[in-house]
Amino acid sequence: MALNRKIAYIDLSSGKVETKPISMEMRKKYLGGRGLDAYLLYNNTKAGVDPLGPDNVCLVSAGILVGTLASATARTHIAGKSPLTGYFGSTNMGGFFAPEMRWAGFDHLVIRGKAEKPVYLWIHNGEIEIRDAKDIWGKGVRDTQSIIREEMGDREIKVMTIGIAGENLVRYANVMTEIKNSGGRTGMGALLGSKNLKAIAVRGTLDIKIEHPVEALEYNKQIISQITSAKVSQEQGRLGTLFIWGATNSQGLVRTRNFQLNQMEDSDGIEPETFEDSAFGMTGCFGCQVHCRAKYIIPDGDYKGTYDEGPEYTSIGAFAAEPGCTDLTTILTGNHLVNDYGMDTLEIGSMIAWAMELYEKGILTDKDTDGLDLSFGNEKAVIEMIHRIAHREGLGDILAEGPLRAAEKIGKDSIRYQVHVKGMSNLHSDERPTPALALGIATASRGSDHLRSRPAIDLYHLPEAVLRQIYSQPVAYEGPLTSDYTDYEGKSWQVFWQEMCYMAVDCLGICKYHTIFLGPNFPNFEEWSKLLYYNTGLELTPLEIWTIAERTNDLERMFNLREGLARSDDWLVDAYFDEPTKLGIPLIRDRVIDRDKFKQMIDEFYAFHGWDEQGKLKPETLKRLGLDKEPSHLL
């Protein structure tokens, strides 16, 4: 059955590998994926561990429904203490790696220590081998995968790898699989790089037994129809996540020129529909019928003729809106380069745009940039900076350190122009008119993030009755809810609800596009209860799944608190409160976040969690969720 997958402890220093089963008790408390990763991280690290040292752990996992019939069960989760923020490090990627890892017999890998020389892991049907990586060290993401496949003589091998950026310990380096599936946030690529671990290759042919195959098939069909019949899925299936950028830019909810403006008016040439002409079909992750990745060939420039996949919302943000560029080729080339170097698109786009603003303000000069003209709109400079950051050359070496460390090195007021939370850059969207979205990024467990609790459907202006149906299950909620996205009322509950929803989906290993993220009537707790039963035989009510999500979220919080996180870290940079938006429709123009109301939102948010005013877990919360004995070392 799906629940007999094992956990492997791999010590790269000694070369020792140990495998253990995962008890049913642990499954019922944490499910798997991000849930068990939170437990493993809290139990396998000590406070203050050096993120790039041998005592930090790198956790790789598959959610409990990965590889089963639950629609888009493709997600791999990677966790560890973040080299970027020093807090909870966690990233999630699609593709085909996690299912293959399950067919190879494993759900969780706990990687410790540091290899003497570059190595990679070979995992095949229950066996794990540490192999020499001399042929792939120094290679890009796609070459690495091709070389391993050729060397092993098996085209079906799935590889998770770091690129050159990860080897060079760029603090926001990705882990990657396939062409463009990226675990981008919190610098997990640097974590692998610090362990001299270039890649993990898996191949498996072991069964995952489906407990009730007939029902699972039929129910999966029903869920797929529910998802693909939605307008949003069909838009996404043609335009990818670019369509979100198009829609939000139309209103003025994007970030341009390093947060100076909130709308890009000269953007017709980089609209999703314009890009669609350069794409030739779509591709998707394992078992997914939404297929949101476009296939394209770079039409022009130095990389003309190169195949790649994407681009995404963040690619437009990073290589067009933020640095003020308007050429589609820059986006497509930039996307290709970060995919092959293995870097977080979001972070690198923010760092380059930040450097551009510093250059504009005279804080950085030609001497700092080695003569490179870092003016906004210089397309060539953007591409050049990607190379420099990946190789850590000149200014790139400083920018590779991430927002806070780079600002410290540059000094001179440069921190004022950073747009970050907990040392991680914000998504290239503008949350000043939308308090709910702002609360999400301010409180996300892995630092600024839009995929931990963002109530994106808040932007749809849904009738209150619909909101009430969605947000009052599986836990009753009778407080206020409003359709108006500029409002503060009831938004903290929405953020709390979404946080539980995304946590649950990450424990299950399903993609967020298959739950209430962009589609208001997509599967959530009730559906998951059935999916779990049909596929694994595990009987959990929607409320029990919710409680698991609460427990896991709180464990992530406990990890952060242990690393010294304080209430003051759940906050936004001053620009959110002091500099009104300049562009966009009337509802969005001239908006800032109100400090007092925002404080109150955070108070409410903490209260829903059962945290005290300082954001620490109350004793009764610890007890209710069974977290009072952590670390309990049960695995």
């Binding site: 069964d207 995952i208 195959p213």
Partner: protein, 164 residues
């Protein structure tokens, strides 16, 4: 009247849901190694091609089988295995020009598409239309129509440019 699985590589997104539902339908497990259909990929070029048994009229697998275990089920016209006769020599696996016959690594038996007794799950779940279950004599019609449309458009362009 004979129906077949029509595959279209231009529409395939490479998600491998067909492999998943095939193995669940036939074996009750998720395991693409035991699927009757496979998506062959060239990841670095973005090419994905679903490969499945064509139920050939003059089937090489039937011709090479030393024990006559490859038999044609008359109603659907599928070429299936009679496991009472099959000795597991895998000659058919090698002989198939499409590589569409798999060898199940768990049960150690030869497996190939049986069209799910007339309701192929791969086609049922494939929403992009990369795998369709269609009348064999109509299998080309959709492609023909798409090609005709392109031809028509280009002819119109020629007219418009005053070349004709």
């Amino acid at each position: 009247m004979r129906k077949m699985l029509v595959t279209d590589y231009e529409k395939c997104t490479g998600c491998r849901l067909c492999e998943l539902v095939c193995s669940v339908k036939h074996e009750g497990v998720s395991n693409p190694a035991r699927s009757r259909i496979n998506v062959t990929k060239w990841e670095t070029k973005g090419i994905m091609v679903p490969m499945v048994c064509s139920q050939c009229e003059d089937a090489p697998c039937m011709a090479v089988c030393p024990t006559n275990a490859r038999i044609r089920e008359s109603e659907l016209g599928t070429v299936t295995v009679n496991y009472d006769r099959c000795i597991g020599c895998k000659t058919c696996v090698v002989a198939c020009p499409f590589g569409a016959i798999n060898f199940d690594p768990i049960d150690h038996k030869v497996i190939s598409c049986d069209l799910c007794e007339g309701d192929p799950q791969c086609a049922r779940f494939c929403e992009t239309g990369a795998i369709r279950y269609a009348e064999a004599s109509d299998a080309n019609k959709m492609r023909q129509r798409e090609a005709a449309e392109k031809l028509y458009e280009s002819l119109q362009k020629l007219d418009g440019a005053g070349v004709s």
